[in-house]
């Protein structure tokens, strides 16, 4: 289900880092040895055994991150991102696995398109990448894709992300049929007649700026609908990029009723509010939009208490010339792979809004569990999926430093703390700084 270019596994010792794997119950200063890409030993003063030694003193070594929601723009917009550039960006962000959404041109709705992506990933993916296929052909919301064949061809799950599945009847069929495909359904919840022409969160700021409002209820009525259908069909459902208080409340109610619902939230929804849109910077335009301070607080609570299992970047690269237009004319979406950890460390952990252990879990095993991917663990015998973090180093986010082909980051020019020093994905060192 995950695909990457082949490469020799590495031997390595990370010396004296604070090893922090909340899932394995580890929080101690230790040496970690990797033999042939597999974690072989944790201990103190380990024999280097002629391995390369990385000095981890003063740093944190954690299970590498998993991003369940990126846009690699391939096929169709390789000027914005490719599998190579997107996975390099992910490596730089501390990720050992990412999942790409199918809203490309053409849409990933047949095993032929999926097969060509898998083949390309095998040639150029720096870290393991998986692909979701569409729920409906062409993401048109009318006919189901051949989900069983797509699952057999390697689809990690199904989503019409970017577009809602408007018809409840089709959504119901997708949930029913996904049982045969055995892969999860991920839903982009947006009621299009309520969000129509929406540019930003509807509230006091949109009233003042004159930008057409995209109300919270445009999301939450669809979250409620999809959770009701999932409950009725007793099928799991994953809610993409939750942005509103009402949506979180709906997920809580569903959990209490025993619905197997999971949810994700983006760094920008966790860090920003609609006040930021006053700048009319097109890099603050995304779908769903960043919402009120109250919504943001509820999202942080939900991430903390586990109502939301995963941080997902919704990394959405856009060509510079397409964002250098008046706010109203700009496309939705911001990048996130290379800044997610630093953004969340700076805006959430440092101010004391969430514990580091919780964040690490929500960026790694949390998202992996949603799609049944192997959960990264710092345990002997496991493949080495490691991220070495410098929690004191800070930097200014600059356009030139991105590995991504696009630089439409909401953090441009901002100072952030928390650098990824080293990433090991599937036993290979894929990033060092």
């Amino acid at each position: 289900m995950l695909f990457a270019k082949p490469g020799p596994p590495n031997d390595l010792i990370v010396r004296g880092a604070r090893v922090l794997d909340p899932g394995a119950g580890i929080d101690a200063v230790l040496d970690v040895r990797v033999d042939g890409g597999t974690i072989s030993e944790l201990g103190s003063r380990l024999d280097p055994n002629a391995h390369r030694v990385v000095d981890g003193e003063g740093l944190v070594l954690a299970p590498a991150f998993v991003d369940p929601h990126v846009h690699l723009r391939t096929p169709g917009r390789e000027d914005e991102e490719t599998i190579a550039s997107g996975t390099q960006a992910a490596a730089a962000g501390g990720y050992c696995a990412i999942l790409a959404m199918p809203n490309t041109d053409p849409v990933v709705d047949s095993s032929a398109v999926l097969g060509s992506l898998i083949e390309t990933a095998g040639l150029e993916a720096e870290i393991p990448v998986g692909f979701l296929a569409a729920i409906s052909r062409g993401q048109q919301g009318a006919e189901l894709t051949e989900m069983v064949e797509l699952a057999e061809a390697g689809a990690a799950g199904f989503s019409d992300d970017g577009m809602p599945v408007t018809a409840p009847g089709l959504m119901r069929r997708a949930l029913q049929y996904s049982a045969a495909a055995g892969r999860p359904i991920a839903v982009h919840c947006e009621e299009p007649t309520l969000s129509r022409a929406g540019q930003m969160h509807e509230g006091a700021v949109s009233a003042e700026l004159g930008l057409t409002g995209y109300p919270s209820v445009a999301e939450s009525v669809m979250v409620e609908r999809d959770l009701a259908l999932a409950a009725y069909e007793q099928r799991p459902v994953h809610v993409l990029h939750v942005s509103a208080r009402e949506s979180v409340e709906a997920v809580r109610v569903a959990h209490a009723a025993g619905v197997r619902a999971t949810a994700e939230v983006t760094p920008h929804h966790l860090c920003l509010t609609d006040e930021s849109v006053r700048s009319l910077d097109a890099n603050l335009k995304m779908n769903p939009p960043v919402r009120s301070a109250d919504d943001r607080a509820v999202l942080i609570d939900a991430l903390r208490d586990g109502t939301i299992q995963a941080v997902a970047t919704d990394h959405a690269p856009h060509a510079r010339h397409e964002k250098e237009v008046p706010f109203e004319a700009a496309p939705f979406g911001v990048t996130g792979l290379e800044t997610a950890f630093a953004a969340l460390w700076t805006h959430l952990v440092e101010p004391g809004l969430i514990r580091l252990e919780t964040l690490l879990q929500r960026m790694s095993s949390g998202p992996a569990g949603i799609y049944g991917l192997p959960e990264p663990r710092i345990v002997p015998g496991e493949p080495a999926n490691l991220v070495l973090l410098d929690l004191r180093a800070s930097r200014r986010v600059e356009e030139q430093a991105f590995r991504s082909r696009s630089a439409n980051s909401w953090l441009l020019g901002e100072r952030v703390t928390g650098n990824v020093k080293l990433t090991v994905a599937a036993g290979r060192v894929v990033h060092e700084s």
Partner: protein, 331 residues
């Protein structure tokens, strides 16, 4: 060139050293507003003379770029620049490279290459003025960007009110109509809040934006509430901005019946304003528009003075350039 001799400090903007723009009323302080209105007043006196042209901005270049149709705003900006002896150039979207698909940024870069002192821009999309400000070294004046802002309209409205009532604070203005789609309303509500006037927004519930109260106004769906105001400010019912099938109002007929400003709904002595262009018989009854209490033509005259004041204000602390005479000397 004579030396700069500051005679009236109170009419000179603060010397911040930064390149200044007028993009939103929220960029202004109350002091800024008072200064602009005072400057406009001194221009009113100078325009009473037979020779109306002032040499103040001689050698300066003002470029007007209009991506939307406009009569009042474009003509008054052009005349304002000419009255101050600036060189002007007016570009309309139709017939320019915009027709060939040129982006706003490239148009801005092209015009910026002539090194204009001021670019006045009207554009149908929110954020256009910001973009031009980032792409060029000119001072940028927003002459309307989508539903966002139209700051010189609000300033000319304040000027009109000040001349009529001799004061601004404590005035009660009822703004009637399609507030949701109105950049005029947004700028005016902010401007009136800045000078501590009272604002009541009146219209169909679907056309009053959720959260507008935080801008410092009251809201009402009852047309009768306009009777309590000193001034009734009627907004254009912007048919061209109504997306098809959006159902903001069931019909224009119902709108006019419920919210049209008719002689029966206004008090004697109540002043009437409208930013133009009017839809007579839709949002405003012709008898109201033509009544003695209507200030609509005064608004148009105020537009010229206010826009002269804005151009003067932006350029008196401009970078390097020709700066021959102080306001006192010319006015």
């Amino acid at each position: 060139m004579t030396d700069i001799r500051v005679v009236r400090d109170d009419l000179l903007p603060p010397r911040t050293g930064e390149r200044r723009h007028l993009i939103s009323i929220s960029d202004l302080t109350r002091d800024d507003v008072e200064r602009l209105l005072a400057t406009a007043r001194s221009f009113a006196r100078s325009l009473e003379r037979e020779m109306k042209k002032l040499p103040t901005l001689r050698g300066r270049t003002v470029v007007n770029v209009f991506y939307e149709s406009s009569t009042r705003t474009s003509s008054s900006f052009e005349l304002a620049a000419k009255r101050l002896s600036a060189d002007t150039m007016s570009i309309k979207a139709s017939g320019s490279s915009v027709d060939k698909g040129e982006s706003l940024k490239d148009t801005a870069l092209t015009l910026g290459a002539y090194d204009p002192d001021v670019i006045v821009i009207r554009h149908p999309q929110i954020g256009a003025a910001q973009l031009v400000a980032q792409a060029t070294r000119a001072h940028v004046v927003n002459a309307g960007d989508g539903k966002h802002q139209h700051p010189t309209q609000a300033l000319l409205d304040l000027y009109t009110l000040q001349e009529e009532f001799g004061r601004l604070d404590g005035l009660h203005v009822a703004i009637v109509g399609d507030v949701l789609h109105s950049r005029v309303a947004r700028s005016l509500i902010q401007a009136l809040a800045l000078v501590e006037a009272r604002v009541t927004v009146v219209g169909p519930p679907t056309l009053i934006p959720r959260g507008i109260e935080t801008m410092g106004c009251e809201t009402s769906v009852e047309i009768d509430t306009i009777a309590a105001a000193d001034v009734v400010y009627v907004l254009r019912m912007q048919r061209e901005r109504m997306q098809e099938g959006a159902n903001y109002v069931p019909s224009l007929r119902e709108y006019t019946t419920r919210w049209g400003v008719t002689p029966e709904r206004v008090r004697a002595g109540q002043k009437i304003m409208h930013p133009g262009p009017m839809n007579r018989g839709v949002e405003i009854d012709p008898r109201v528009a033509d009544a003695a209490d209507a200030l609509i033509e005064t608004q148009v005259r105020a537009g010229l003075l206010t826009r002269m004041a804005v151009l003067y204000d932006l350029l008196t602390t401009g970078p390097v350039g020709v700066k021959a005479q102080t306001l006192h000397e010319v006015a």
